[in-house]
């Protein structure tokens, strides 16, 4: 079994350093947007979280594919944790986006903006992942169905994103590859540091959660050994989270 706790301490320190640097750059280095003013600085937290959350969903799909190829339960656990964390980041994206919309456009939400609605659809799609897992009692079948879900939904994320970018009318600002020359260098640098910081945070939390779940599995195995049981009783304790048996 692979353990995910190695390198957690330096990774946590690197995450804290890069995130603090990103917030300092956003506060003191990046210029204020001429059009939106100081509220545009929400961009340095909102957009990196959105990008990392979507990448996490795709990564969850790739891990699900690995599970179907290898039938190794640890890939199911990795996929579950990746999607679980992306959902939490998804909440942050929706809330920070709504705050930005309220300050910038005067409304908390608008239904005629493809970027907002498409992200909400992706979020709601993945919100069904945990209930789907919980509805299946047999762990093997649960892992198989969850992996198929993760692959299909994960493939849909970049397709959806590309389709939205090809749409005509936007009020939601474009971040990368604009036809009007893109961001000034200071803004782009700050954005990239924030993106690296949030990506590091995601990896740190993923490793942290993987380590916690594997440790929990080991404790359960130890408890069973001390009680003289060879294997967990069939159907004991339905759970949405994969149970890794050591």
């Amino acid at each position: 079994m692979t353990f995910h706790g190695s390198g957690l301490r330096p990774l946590s320190i690197a995450t804290a350093v890069v995130l603090v640097a990103a917030f300092a750059l956003a506060a003191f280095y990046a210029p204020e947007d001429a059009d939106q003013g100081i509220i545009q600085k929400i961009f340095y937290i909102h957009v990196p979280i959105a990008i990392v959350a979507l990448c996490g969903f795709v990564a969850g799909g790739i891990m699900g594919l690995q599970y179907l190829r290898t039938r190794d339960r640890v890939w199911d656990l990795r996929s579950y944790v990746a999607i679980h964390l992306s959902l939490i980041l998804g909440v942050a994206v929706l809330v920070t986006g709504s705050i930005w919309a309220r300050g910038s456009w005067g409304v908390w939400w608008t239904w005629d903006e493809p970027m907002l609605v498409s992200f909400l659809i992706v979020f709601l799609l993945y919100a069904t992942y945990q209930p789907l897992r919980f509805s299946i009692e047999d762990p093997e079948r649960q892992a198989r169905y969850a992996s198929v879900f993760a692959i299909v939904a994960g493939a849909w994320v970049p397709i959806n994103f590309a389709a939205v970018r090809m749409a005509d009318s936007f009020i939601h600002p474009r971040t990368l590859g604009t036809t009007t020359g893109g961001m000034p260098g200071e803004m782009m640098f700050t954005f990239l540091v924030a993106l690296v910081g949030v990506a590091l945070l995601y990896v740190t939390l993923w490793k942290f959660e993987m380590t916690a779940k594997q440790t929990r599995g080991q404790i359960r195995a130890l408890r069973r050994r001390l009680a003289g049981e060879q294997a967990p009783p069939a159907g004991a304790g339905r759970s949405a989270a994969p149970q890794v048996h050591v």
Binding site: I38, K41, I42, H46, I49, V95, G103, E209, A212
Partner: protein, 65 residues
């Protein structure tokens, strides 16, 4: 603080609040695992005292939580 500044502060606060809630939940789980490990260590030590390290002895009753 200006209106824009308030919204900016609110967005960053939401991010940190979510992070804090997550860390607190993980900390609670960790402390629960720590308690369970201590309990299992105690049971293993008791078994060693009773059986003198004999591996073929009868299993002891372990609380299932």
């Amino acid at each position: 603080m200006s209106g824009g500044g308030d919204y900016l502060a609110a967005a960053f606060l939401v991010f940190f609040a979510l992070l804090l809630v997550y860390v607190v939940i993980m900390a609670v789980r960790m402390s629960r695992m720590e308690r369970e490990l201590a309990e299992l260590n105690e049971i293993a030590a008791r078994r060693d005292d009773d059986g003198g390290g004999d591996r073929d002895r009868d299993p002891v009753e372990v609380p299932t939580s």
